[in-house]
Structure formats: structure tokens, C-alpha cells
């Protein structure tokens, strides 16, 4: 679970203390963004594909209740048990109920941001069920007792030395062997034992198809597949916005997802689960947990189109330079910075300000969510909810007063241009504008308005 008392700016400042690590994080994630661009450029229809995805999702949201009912009917016709959870607590109770009824002692899990959102792992562990995260990155952060820092690359905040040390302690690998292939294969051998001995497997859901009642899970590692093909029980937990109307629509979404997420044409495995294996059971838990409220918000309902590719965080200049651990909500980056505040503005208000409003996120989003516009609207809510620090609030109020009184603004600007150059350095060296790269600019002789006036007069 994540500490939701985190304030983005302070946490980011702490992360940036290690300059070398911060630079590496920035460039590693930017590389993924560049791979995404290379894939997008190979398809002449890329922009049309994004438009199709947007339209399909927008249509689905306008009839979400109908499509969910259709999905349930078809899933049940396939022999799948469908459960509905109004909130995180109900989701956890349902999952525990299924496991307890079957006497399951060990659950293997593939990546699911929803179960992170619900806090499923600690809930089950407190009730005596061992939970093994099986995505390599998720396993690493689970062993470190920390939340994932990225929704697609959970351990991107770590260097191989950290992982080598961790695996030496937890899995008995050679001390000082930092080779990623060696470390990956050590985890492979260890997790195989868990796959073969687990009583149940839990997966997230990338897409749920109303027309077939099936769910689709995309992974590169194959962990969702081993976790569902071996144990007799498969539980799939899905947010209720994961629905697409028809199987053919995956001909759009599977073309966008991995290209946007990791710059690959597709994930290694795109698995369609429609029935339990012979002798097994399959359960689907449909979770609301605040989503139906977001659907009713004119400003924010578009965020429910999200397919969790992570492209918005890979492109975000703030995310790349602050890591996912600087965000209070479990989903970081631009999409998390609208979903978190939508859920609880008092807890997650600082996330709305982890944004330069550059708009790059909106431009790479495969379902064209107006992310940067939503973040500006979330700032308004953060202000209204009283989550701003007193100094920031006073600054904003002063600015509002000034912009409403142009003559005062002109006078203030004039004063600033005169005074700032002669302020002794001792007074400014502890301000936000004294850090490297953020020095106060040279004060110009004239304001823009004065320059504009002069230019007009010269022309005449």
C-alpha cells in the first residue's frame, strides 16, 4: 500500500538528491518514449487508430451498464462466476471468500493495478494466504515491501545492483552478480516452483468483451498464463471500465497497447480467457470503487477511457524527473494525477501540480484523454478543497488580485524590474529560485506591454 501523505514536490526534491540516479531514470524512461514513437511512425494509420480507440471507448462509456450486463450474461453462459464489488473492501472479501472456500493457501498473481488499488495483498496475508506476485518487476517491489513506481515497469526506479543485493538475500543468488540475464533466470526458477504449487491464480484484465463474456490479459513474461493454466482456480479482477463491445475491437486496441506502452508491436502473450480449464473454476470480479462517480463528472469521465499503457508517464517531464514514488496515489504520472484527485482531492491534491501543462501526455495517449486539461481542473478542486500550502495559496490569491487589476499589475511589474536586480543575494539564496537551473532571470528594462506599445508607435 502506498503512503498517501506523500506531497509530490517534497518527495521529488528528495529523489533528485541522487543526481546520477535521477538522470538515469529520466533517460531510461525517455528511451521507452522514443521506442513508442518509432512504432507509431511505422503505421501510416496511427492517428486514425487513436481516433477509433477513442470513439469505441467513448461509445462504451455512454452505455456502460448495458455492456456490463451483456458481458455478465455471456460470461455466465460460458460457466464463469461473475461477482460485483462496490468498493475495495468488497472486492477483497469476495476474493478471500473464493480462496477460503477452496482451502487455498497460496495465490500466484500477475500484474494488476486494481489489486494494488484495493490493497488485496495485505488483506489476504493477514488471513493466512501467501500471495506471490509473479511479474518480475512486481516480485522485486513485493520483496522490497514497496509499491510499484510505474504501472508497466514496476521496478524502473531501481538499479541492477539493488536487485542483485535483494535476490542474494531472498533467493540466494551469487553476491555481486548483477547480470540481468542471470538475475531474471534465478527469479524464473524460483517462481516456477510457486506456479506449480499454487492453489489459485489471480490476473488483472486488460479488456473484457461484452459480446463473448471473455477477458483478455496481455503480458510479455507469460506469468498470467502459467498462473491460470496450472492452478484449478482463476480469478480475474477488473475495473468496470475495461469493457469493449465486440471481439473485433481488439483489432484496434491490441495494435495500440504495446506500441504505446513499451514500443513493441504487441505483447508476447495476448491471452483470451473464456472458460475455466477442465476441472477448474473461473471467477470474474467487476469492481466499481469510485469509477461510477467519475463517470458522472463532466470534467473527468474521459479518464475512464484509459487502457493503462503508461505512455503518459513515459513522456511526462515531471514523472521522469520525480519517479512514481513521489505521487501519493498508486497510479502515478498524468493519468494517476487525475484519477487520484478524482478519488480523494484532499489526499491527492498535490498530484494535480505535478505537471507543467505541456500537454505531451494528451498527445501520446492512445485513447486521446484530455489529460493536461483535466489536471488544470483538478488544481481548481485542490485549491477549493483547501489542500494548498498557505504560501502557495496566498501567492495564487495575490496573483488573482493582480490580474484583475491591470494598472496595479503594471506598477508591480515596474517595481519588480527595479528592485530584484539590487536585492542582496543573501535574501534570495534560500528561495525556490536560487537552486541550480532555476536562477532568477535577468530583469528586462521594459515589460512586454511597454515593448508592444513602442513597437506599435514605431510602425506608425
Amino acid at each position: 500500500m502506498k503512503n498517501d501523505n506523500i506531497k509530490h514536490a517534497a518527495a521529488a526534491a528528495a529523489f533528485l538528491q541522487d543526481r546520477e540516479q535521477a538522470r538515469w531514470h529520466d533517460s531510461a524512461i525517455w528511451w521507452v518514449r522514443q521506442k513508442r514513437d518509432a512504432q507509431a511512425k511505422q503505421l501510416p494509420e496511427w492517428e486514425q487508430l487513436r481516433a477509433l480507440a477513442q470513439q469505441i471507448k467513448a461509445h462504451t462509456l455512454s452505455r456502460l451498464d448495458e455492456y456490463l450486463e451483456q458481458f455478465q450474461r455471456n460470461a455466465e453462459a460460458n460457466g464463469v462466476t461473475v461477482h460485483w464489488a462496490a468498493d475495495a473492501a468488497e472486492h477483497n472479501r469476495i476474493v478471500h471468500g473464493i480462496l477460503a472456500a477452496a482451502g487455498v493457501k497460496k495465490l500466484v498473481k500477475s500484474k494488476s493495478m486494481l489489486t494494488e488499488e484495493c490493497g488485496l495483498n495485505p488483506y489476504l496475508e493477514q488471513r493466512g494466504i501467501a500471495v506471490i506476485d509473479t511479474d518480475l518487476g512486481e516480485r522485486i517491489v513485493q520483496l522490497r515491501h514497496e509499491p510499484p513506481s510505474h504501472i508497466v515497469m514496476p521496478a524502473i526506479h531501481l538499479k541492477k545492483e539493488h536487485i542483485s543485493e535483494l535476490f542474494h538475500k531472498e533467493l540466494g543468488t551469487e553476491a555481486g552478480n548483477n547480470d540481468p540475464t542471470y538475475l531474471t533466470h534465478a527469479a524464473r526458477a524460483n517462481l516456477r516452483e510457486h506456479f506449480l504449487s499454487a492453489g489459485a491464480g489471480l490476473t488483472g484484465v486488460n479488456f473484457a468483451i461484452a459480446e463473448t463474456g471473455g477477458v483478455v490479459v496481455c503480458t510479455n513474461e507469460g506469468n498470467a498464463d502459467l498462473g491460470t493454466a496450472l492452478p484449478a482456480i482463476h480469478i480475474a479482477s477488473m475495473g468496470l471500465e475495461k469493457i469493449v463491445p465486440r471481439l473485433e475491437h481488439l483489432g484496434v486496441f491490441t495494435r495500440l497497447l504495446a506500441r504505446s506502452a513499451i514500443g513493441s508491436p504487441i505483447t508476447t502473450y495476448t491471452s483470451h480467457f473464456q472458460q475455466a480449464r477442465p476441472g477448474g473454476q473461473m471467477h470474474i470480479v467487476i469492481v466499481d470503487n469510485g469509477r461510477s462517480d467519475i463517470l458522472g463528472s463532466d470534467d473527468f469521465y474521459q479518464s475512464l477511457r484509459c487502457i493503462r499503457c503508461g505512455a503518459c508517464m513515459n513522456t511526462c517531464p515531471v514523472y521522469r524527473r520525480s519517479t512514481g514514488h513521489s505521487y501519493s496515489y498508486i497510479i502515478p504520472g498524468p493519468i494517476g494525477s487525475t484519477l487520484g484527485p478524482s478519488r480523494d482531492i484532499k489526499k491527492h491534491g498535490s498530484m494535480a501540480f505535478a505537471c507543467t501543462t505541456c500537454g505531451s501526455c494528451s498527445n501520446v495517449c492512445p485513447v486521446k484523454i484530455n489529460l493536461h486539461e483535466q489536471l488544470i481542473l483538478q488544481r481548481k478542486r485542490a485549491f477549493d478543497a483547501g489542500t494548498l500550502k498557505a504560501a502557495k495559496k496566498m501567492g495564487l490569491l495575490a496573483m488573482r488580485f493582480l490580474t484583475r487589476h491591470p494598472s496595479l499589475m503594471d506598477a508591480g511589474g515596474k517595481l519588480m524590474r527595479k528592485v530584484v536586480p539590487i536585492v542582496p543575494q543573501a535574501l534570495t539564496q534560500h528561495s525556490a529560485w536560487s537552486r541550480p537551473g532555476r536562477e532568477l532571470p535577468q530583469m528586462p528594462a521594459q515589460s512586454f506591454k511597454e515593448m508592444w506599445q513602442a513597437r506599435k508607435e514605431n510602425k506608425q
Partner: protein, 188 residues
């Protein structure tokens, strides 16, 4: 009221406006002059390989040539494939030879699905995966593929593109995360 009724009622009440479903076939998608060549080029970057069976060659011959030293082989392309009591019994398979229904040029993906849903553990437990695909069953894009696949009677189906892989440690690409370490697609 049950959670189901509460949730559905709130979704009905909160419905936003939305467009009609678009016609996804109205947009022209990329096509490839030589689909096999596009497939092979891509799959080689994804920890796999692809070959076309030549006259006089057999699948078994190609497999034996590629991996002369190998462990247990499970071939489920035969008319009466090997059956196991539990999926766990495939755990020590070294090479699995499985039928692939359809290949996709743009993504180097192969659709696997079979009646009875009994072999799927094999696709993922095996160390090396050999997919045998009919020569003419190759399409340009995922849209073309979805127009041709059917899952309803099988319960499970999946696209597999190359080897199992991960880049979770410092973005270094490693083949063989959990599933097959090598993938070979043979077009017959």
C-alpha cells in the same frame, strides 16, 4: 439492493453522451507485400525465428536439426496427441510442437487455440515452443486476425509473439522470463 444493482443504477444515472460505434473497417490499415518476410524479420527481433518448410523437409527434421541435444518433446500436432492427467505433468517438457491457426505479419503473433482447453499449460511451461502454421494462414494486421479467429467453442485462445521476455531489470531485454526461452514458427 445488491452491489450489482447499486452499481448498474449509478452507471445508468451517470451516463455521459457518446458517439455511435465507429466502423473499424472503414480505415485502411497497413499491408505487406511479402507477409512471411515481414513476419520473419520481426519475430527474429522478439526472440524467435520463422522458416518455411521446403519440399522433402519435415517439422521433426527441422526441430532435430535446430536442437540436436534436447530433453522431453511433446508433439500435439499429431492426430492423437499425448494426454496428461494434470497440466503440471508438462513441467519438464523441453520442446513443445503445437499447431498455430493463424499468423499476423505486423506483430509476428500466432493464434493458438484448441478444442477442450486441455493443452494450454504446455504453451507456457515448455522451454522451447514450435508453432506449426499453415503457409497460407498469414494476414497483415490484428484486425484481419480478429475477423478470422473464434474462441467460443474452445474456452481459451491466445496470440503468441516470439519468446517470453522481460526488461524489468534496468530495461535490459532478457529472453525467457517465465514462458518459452525460444520460439520457432514453421510454415507448412
Amino acid at each position: 439492493m445488491s452491489s450489482r444493482e447499486t452499481i448498474l443504477a449509478r452507471l445508468r444515472q451517470n451516463r455521459p453522451q457518446g458517439p455511435a460505434l465507429p466502423d473499424i473497417d472503414a480505415v485502411p490499415f497497413i499491408t505487406f507485400e511479402d507477409k512471411f518476410d515481414a513476419f520473419r524479420t520481426l519475430v527474429r527481433n522478439l526472440g524467435g525465428d520463422a522458416v518455411q518448410l521446403q519440399p522433402g523437409e519435415t517439422v521433426a527434421g527441422i526441430v532435430a536439426q535446430r536442437w540436436p541435444q534436447h530433453g522431453r518433446v511433446a508433439d500435439v500436432t499429431a492426430a492423437k496427441p499425448e494426454q496428461v492427467a494434470a497440466p503440471h505433468d508438462w513441467h519438464d517438457v523441453d520442446i513443445a510442437i503445437v499447431p498455430g491457426e493463424l499468423a499476423v505479419a505486423e506483430s509476428a503473433a500466432v493464434w493458438v487455440s484448441h478444442a477442450g482447453n486441455s493443452q494450454r499449460a504446455l504453451y507456457f511451461l515448455t522451454q522451447k515452443l514450435v508453432l506449426v502454421v499453415p503457409k497460407d494462414a498469414i494476414v497483415d494486421t490484428m484486425r484481419d486476425a480478429y475477423a478470422r479467429v473464434s474462441i467460443r467453442e474452445h474456452g481459451f485462445g491466445g496470440f503468441i509473439s516470439g519468446s517470453s521476455r522481460t526488461a524489468d531489470i534496468e530495461q535490459s531485454l532478457v529472453m525467457g522470463a517465465h514462458g518459452a526461452m525460444a520460439a520457432l514458427v514453421i510454415f507448412v
